[in-house]
């Protein structure tokens, strides 16, 4: 059995250029971080096959961002590199121009899937509609809780072009943020740096080339790509857990208690050790993905990763808050991180919906041990 590692595997080779690119950049400014990553060629280098991110580079990027930036800023980068850029690959016209701008860090594109009208877990209820015609398309509807909504140049919008409640009824539309009829509202103060907000589209007239890919394939394409977002989320979650655990260990070792420190107390060490176990279970789930040529998991692997990442972050963050006591409530401390990190169990797939999907795979998952 290989020796367990103290930090996530990929560091070194791919992490150093990210660190160099971000040196001197304000880590709380998502635009500055994105531009710096683009200018240094980090974003382009993520895609050796031109479409999907290389898992080790993705892991290094998210680990470095997690170490230095607020959660919201990492989220802003994560959605774009794991989901938007691959979905735009192979496009032509304005989408291709947007993609090139994104690779240089000059353009920000939001992913607008979760509909204002329905549950994010059942996209078939979405009512955002696009009317397709010979001279263009008209977009109407709304999308809620969209990362980068308040800062984007354009939004990649999942819109219904047919009425049937079926996965083939959707297509992708690229809507410029400054097009007449597009408005954006803030989603509040949580997730600073993520630009999360609500988008509204009222009779937005778009040229024919604003419609991307093959109509009818959009939801299927998204279902596949969201698996990559789940891989990214798991890689990010483990980086966050390792970071919290390293900080917690150092703090416990310094914290006076009786004749020694809190670290000397068996009860404290046991609670800490349980977090190590959970984090190493997540590491083990991620390990085979890091060796894959591209970060595209099967649907069920994506769901397993999503639930595992959410539960591990929640467990580690909760214990970090309990073990640190009042110190957890310092500015930017574990208490605040725990609140925002609850998004690992919601954004890109809520845990309840993931569990429902996993149960559908019971035969294959509960089957013979190989």
């Amino acid at each position: 059995m290989p020796e367990p590692r103290a930090t996530p595997t990929p560091a070194g080779e791919h992490a150093a250029p990210v660190g160099a690119a971000l040196s001197g950049v304000d880590p709380t400014d998502p635009g500055a971080v994105w531009r710096a990553l683009g200018a240094a060629g980090i974003i382009e280098a993520l895609y050796p096959d031109g479409v999907q991110p290389d898992p080790r580079r993705l892991s290094a990027l998210l680990t470095e961002l997690d170490a230095g930036c607020p959660l919201g800023v990492t989220l802003s980068v994560c959605v774009q590199v794991a989901t938007v850029l691959p979905l735009l690959a192979g496009a032509t016209g304005p989408a291709e121009r947007a993609r090139r701008g994104m690779l240089r860090g000059e353009t920000v594109v939001a992913l607008a899937v979760t509909d204002a009208a329905g549950s994010g877990s059942d996209l078939l209820d979405a009512t955002t509609r696009v009317k397709l015609g010979d001279d263009g398309a008209v977009l109407d509807g709304g999308k809620d809780w969209i990362t980068n909504a308040t800062s984007c140049d354009a939004a990649l919008v999942l819109a219904r072009h047919r009425e049937a409640r079926h996965f083939t009824s959707f297509c992708w539309v690229l809507a410029p943020a400054d097009a007449p009829g597009v408005t954006v509202g803030s989603a509040g103060r949580a997730f600073a740096g993520s630009g999360v907000g609500h988008l509204r589209f009222a009779g937005v007239a778009l040229p024919p080339d604003a419609v991307l890919g093959r109509p009818g394939r959009a939801l299927a394409g998204f279902a596949r790509q969201v698996g990559v977002e789940r891989v990214a989320g798991a890689l990010w979650a483990r980086a966050m857990c390792h970071r919290m655990l390293a900080g917690l260990r150092d703090w416990l070792r310094r914290r006076p208690a009786g004749a020694g420190t809190l670290w000397d107390r068996p009860a404290v060490r046991e609670r800490y050790a349980r977090c190590l176990v959970a984090t190493h279970q997540l590491d083990a789930l991620c390990a085979p993905l890091l060796d894959a040529p591209a970060a595209v998991p099967s649907a069920v692997t994506g769901m397993l990763l999503k639930v595992s990442a959410a539960e591990t972050v929640d467990r580690v963050a909760a214990e970090a808050v309990r073990l640190r006591g009042a110190d957890a409530f310092r500015d930017g401390g574990e208490a605040q991180l725990r609140t925002e990190a609850a998004m690992f169990g919601i954004a890109g797939g809520a845990t309840g919906a993931m569990l429902a999907g996993i149960a559908d795979h019971a035969d294959e998952l509960a089957g013979a041990v190989t």
């Binding site: 078939l124 047919r162 049937a164 409640r165 079926h166 996965f167 083939t168 009824s169 093959r214 109509p215 009818g216 394939r217 939801l219 299927a220 279902a223 596949r224 649907a299 999907g357 559908d360 035969d363 294959e364």
Partner: protein, 84 residues
């Protein structure tokens, strides 16, 4: 319908059990939901080496086992030739 197809279909149909899957079996009634329908589309394309064209990407394609098999078989058949 060939056996490879019905066996590929079975894990997606949570209410099918071990019963025979007939051509007129309605996939929704046998428990196929929309998100699993997407997985089924990918599985079919991968297993049979076909790409379902835009005009067949509609809800009616996925209505019955026989209807879906008909589309797969048509895509597998080289123009002017018989079934492979």
């Amino acid at each position: 319908m060939n056996t490879e197809f019905t066996e590929l279909l079975r894990p997606f149909l949570k209410f099918a059990g071990p019963e025979e899957i007939t051509e007129d079996a309605r996939l929704r009634d046998l428990g196929l939901d929309s998100m699993r329908e997407i997985e089924l589309l990918f599985a079919i394309e991968e297993t049979f080496g076909v790409a379902v064209p835009d005009d067949k990407l509609v809800d009616s394609t996925f209505a019955t086992a026989g209807g879906l098999w008909g589309v797969v078989e048509e895509l597998r058949t080289p123009v002017g030739g018989g079934s492979r």
